[in-house]
Chain length 640, copies 2
């Protein structure tokens, strides 16, 4: 019988089990050397440590209450949580006793802050204790808990220290008593999803199914009637209609999750929810959840996703608008949303490899999430337009600092997105110089060394290190774009058509120490055109090479980037390695440029612009704004 | 000696002296039959009459104070003023005793409201009397006065009734005592310009130079140091830095007006200021003002103007941003701003005809201002995007109802923009079926009948009716787009190259009763391309015919208008008269359409869209959204 995806349960490899070099190694070094500490410094500057330190007076409302009824100060726990998570991953790569000591002190503060019953939330213990559990819709209470749980799991895995893990288990145990349909329990869920995926992590690291059950409860309850948010508002004396976001679609609570067919609302909320749903689908083999997720996946990727894997075009709801509405210059495309898409995609692989998910995971990772971090790890993008007139630059910090730690924790944990293991199978979802120590449920211990200059070059080699021969399948993603990929095992070519299913080459055999697999992915320059329904990309073309979206910047090409016209048939491109830009591969192409000189006095005229031959340099989009500031453009004019 | 423009003073013809038929006659009928009354009804519904009626209690703050420190309720006087002005013009065309009686009652209320000293402002007499003259920067106090003055002049000209005129003369006389550099006087000016041009109107109708002098005072003071707004704020106990608009550029008060070189800030404010400046330049033969205005004119029209004559792309400041930044779908391009551009352009003609101004006046009139009114005169556009995904529709009313009466008063007074007279010269700036009764300073009385189906057809004939022969020049604009225009006098062709200067054919002769001038302006379909520096129009083309910008609408062409591609060489176009759309001339062209069907599952792919031959119907932009709602597009893809 042929195996189907849904027969298998894949779980990500723990972060410390993968050591990165090459492309990702550099990015991880930037986080270890700069970002991890920067995050903590900024949290301290914002007053977050004072807020959790019961030895100090309550901070009160430091950041003003906003029209939506809350303040970003309410999510300080999440900022600290994601920062600790980042530190945890960074400590594994690069021991830093001083940074570890700072994290330990924060964890000690949380220990002291925690209530006897297990409750833990800086805002609702220190600023508004009377408001605990009164407004799950708006106040991010369980969202904060979720991020502290993720931090706890990461810190435990990285350092072996259990203190924060124990704290969060106590809190989760308390939540189990608080939420449910029993007498006096709250039949609700959080307006900003996050706790769902966090509880799955907690369950996996502790082996405690009760945490999975609570996660499933939150997912199952979402959007059911009578509507929890409506009932909660009434109980709290608030008018349920008085909701600044106007619709429960904002938090994907407009329908039971299994009935949802369209990706709507706040983009990060949506991604976190679907991530939790996918985890629960994997853990419970829940086909009804998987079916809903597959529909939502198609809805997002075929109608609502930028070519960068950026999602959520609108600033006003930080989320989705109409199908095919993807403005480039005003794209919100929050870094966190693409990080969330990576989360979701990786979890869609829980029931087996499928490049439908892994290709998008890679696309969103390199082009939607990674731009959020500068190459020195010190500055950040919150929103990620695909066109800039020159005014969009990285921030040192943000009034809502959710993105910096989000991209930092993703970068430092990227190994766990590259490899996943099932009972007798290793799946390689992402490529890049790395060494993974993998334990299969069938007892095999494999150290898999991946040698590659990916994504700059397409040659990838795996060498297996095994104490004794072992039978398992090695599944390697063959990206859809990789026309003409070549695979060999120990020098013997493999006919891909015989081994590829769902876009993965599955090599099932008894592996021996020193076995070598070579995969060559052709990195041809690919023009990409958008469905003509995307009005903003009409008449335009984007360039990709491998998984990377390219763009033009003024620093290489001068101003007026919209005057560049790419020929319909791409001429041969030259590549150059840019030493000052993380050794990125730049692409130089012959183009035409519309002349902006001598246009005449009027703004409009009867004759189109004259054109002259020119060359244009394209650089990877994720690296833009790392050199001189100026215009940037992804979708350039295409000749017709 | 050759005359130069600056030698002459042209003044617009009074509204009642021009009777419109044809194109403008229909629009005026719509205002007379619907808009004029609608405006008053809406003002009443908003509570404006209660606000000025001292027999009723003070209305208090009906509309909440906004972050900028005021409320639109503060400008209710201006809404009433523009409505009365519209009614005045409409009464001339179509007597309506009931409507006139309503206007009279409002004027009676204002008479009772006016303070003994002459002051008149509903807000500062009835709601915040203690705040009179304390915040000219933000509170629109003189702006309101200006609109009431314009109403007074119009009502007097249309009805012969002096009551409102006398009221406003008393107020203006009082202002003369209030403003100045004398002891206890206010050395200031209004944050929202309007009073300047209004005082010129008042001076011209009364013959009182003192009102011109006050207007000139406001203009001369603007932007000088020590800065009035700064000093005023300090006197008022406000922090001058605490200005929501951040920069005095917002109200063009950042520099003395003669030093200003760049059009900045709030678009309507800018247009009203420049209008007043141009009037003062004409009245005082002030070359320094004219020089500044010429620079500003080029700055606006060559770098900051939509092809529609829409200006001010940004909603956030209702105004200007960067050069060449002209987004189409988010264009603010407020109706009032284009009305203001018509005002300014017409006043730039005060020192002599020049098509540089009149061509733009016509362009902004037909394509920037007129879209603000539906063909039935009942609904209104506030902002005027050049592209709509189908969600932009006319309003019944607006929370800030400045645009409806502004376009209505322009439409009903259009005759005064068509004709202007100097001592011995008649200038015809705009074409259209009409009869003008013109009095020249040299004593000639001319009734000029213009017969034309312009702008739908280019044939225009003038017949002069004179009691006795008279010497004067007749200057007819030859639009820059009218390649191959043909002119004849009494059947004799005139070589245009011998009579055209500044774009006007100047026919100087002794005219006799029955003399006939024929002008034929070729209405060729013209592709228009934007300077490539306008990134939003890159690779796109717009169609114009005569003065009209065309667009495509979904109701004619189906959805996905961005999939339409116009060939580089325009094929022969067919024209159709649309009975259901004010007898507009529609244009049908052979185009190609990108196929949106069978695109495939992914949003992006390697192959561009296939194309199929198709036809597209273009309709005049000013008439869009008068039929079925749906997508609209001005700048369509252009083949390359």
């Amino acid at each position: 019988m042929t195996r189907t995806r849904k027969d298998r349960q894949f779980r990500p490899v723990a972060v410390p089990d993968v050591e990165l070099g090459g492309f990702w190694g550099k990015w991880q070094d930037a986080v270890c050397q700069s970002t991890a500490e920067t995050l903590l410094d900024r949290c301290v500057e914002a007053g977050m440590l004072k807020a959790i330190d019961i030895a100090q007076p309550s901070p009160g409302i430091v950041i003003p209450i906003q029209p939506w009824g809350g303040t970003t100060q309410m999510f300080w726990d999440s900022d600290l949580g994601k920062s600790i998570e980042t530190i945890a991953y960074s400590l594994y790569r690069r021991p830093n006793p001083e940074l570890e000591a700072r994290a330990d002190r924060i964890i000690d503060m949380y220990e002291k802050l925690q209530d006897k019953d297990g409750y833990l939330n800086a805002w609702f213990q220190r600023v508004q204790p009377e408001r605990r559990w009164t407004n799950l819709r708006d106040h991010h209470e369980l969202y904060c808990a979720g991020h502290l749980i993720e931090a706890a799991v990461a810190y435990y895995q990285a350092t072996g220290k259990r203190k924060l893990l124990d704290i969060m288990c106590r809190y989760a145990d308390y939540m189990i008593t608080v939420f449910g349909h029993g007498e006096g329990q709250i039949p609700g869920y959080c307006g900003h999803e996050e706790i769902e995926l966090a509880l799955v992590k907690l369950a996996r690291v502790t082996g405690e199914k009760k945490y999975l059950d609570l996660s499933k409860f939150f997912i199952d309850e979402r959007g059911t009637e009578p509507h929890f948010f409506t009932e909660e508002a009434k109980r709290d004396g608030r008018d349920p209609e008085n909701f600044i976001q106007k619709t429960y679609e904002y938090g994907q609570a407009h329908q039971p999750v299994r009935e949802q067919r369209q990706v709507v609302g706040h983009a990060v909320r949506a991604m976190y929810l679907y991530s939790g749903m996918a985890d629960i689908a994997t853990e419970y083999n829940d086909d009804s959840l998987t079916a809903a997720l597959e529909t939502l996946w198609d809805d997002l990727t075929a109608k609502q996703m930028y070519i960068t894997g950026g999602i959520g075009p609108s600033a006003s709801n930080e989320g989705f608008t109409d199908y095919y509405d993807l403005p480039n210059d005003t794209a919100y495309a929050e870094t966190c949303a693409s990080v969330g898409l990576v989360f979701w995609a990786s979890r869609m692989l829980g029931r087996g490899p499928d490049r439908r998910y892994a290709d998008i995971m890679e696309q969103a990772l390199y082009n939607g999430a990674l731009p959020g971090l500068s190459i020195d790890g010190r500055t950040f993008f919150y929103d990620n337009p695909l066109e800039s007139s020159g005014k969009h630059h990285r921030w040192k910090w943000h009034h809502c600092p959710c993105c910096p730690p989000n991209i930092a924790r993703l970068v430092t944990s990227i190994g766990s997105y590259m490899y996943a293991v099932a009972e007798d199978e290793i799946a390689v979802h992402l490529y890049g110089e790395s060494t993974a120590r993998l334990k299969l449920a069938n007892g095999a211990n494999v150290e898999l060394r991946q040698t590659s200059n990916y994504p700059w070059e397409g040659a990838i080699a795996f060498t297996a290190k095994l104490e004794r021969p072992a039978k398992f399948a090695l599944s390697l993603r063959i990206p859809e774009w990789a026309d003409g990929a070549i695979l060999s095992v120990n020098g013997t070519m493999i006919d891909l058509s015989t081994v590829v299913s769902d876009g993965y080459a599955r090599i099932e055999r008894e592996w021996a120490d020193g076995d070598r697999v070579e995969l060559d992915l052709p990195l041809e320059l690919r023009p990409q055109y958008a469905n003509p329904k995307v009005r903003q990309d009409a008449g335009r073309v984007a360039l990709m090479r491998g998984p990377l979206v390219y763009c033009v910047e003024a620093t290489d090409n001068g101003e007026d980037l919209n005057a560049i016209v790419l020929p319909r048939e791409l001429p041969a491109a030259e590549t150059t390695v840019l030493k000052d830009l993380n050794d990125a591969v730049a692409i130089d192409v012959a183009v035409e440029r519309e002349e902006t000189e001598n246009w005449g006095k009027a703004l409009y005229r009867k004759e189109p612009a004259k054109r002259r031959p020119a060359r244009a340099r394209f650089v990877p989009y994720h690296l833009w704004d790392n050199r001189a500031p100026g215009e940037m453009l992804v979708w350039v004019q295409s000749d017709k």
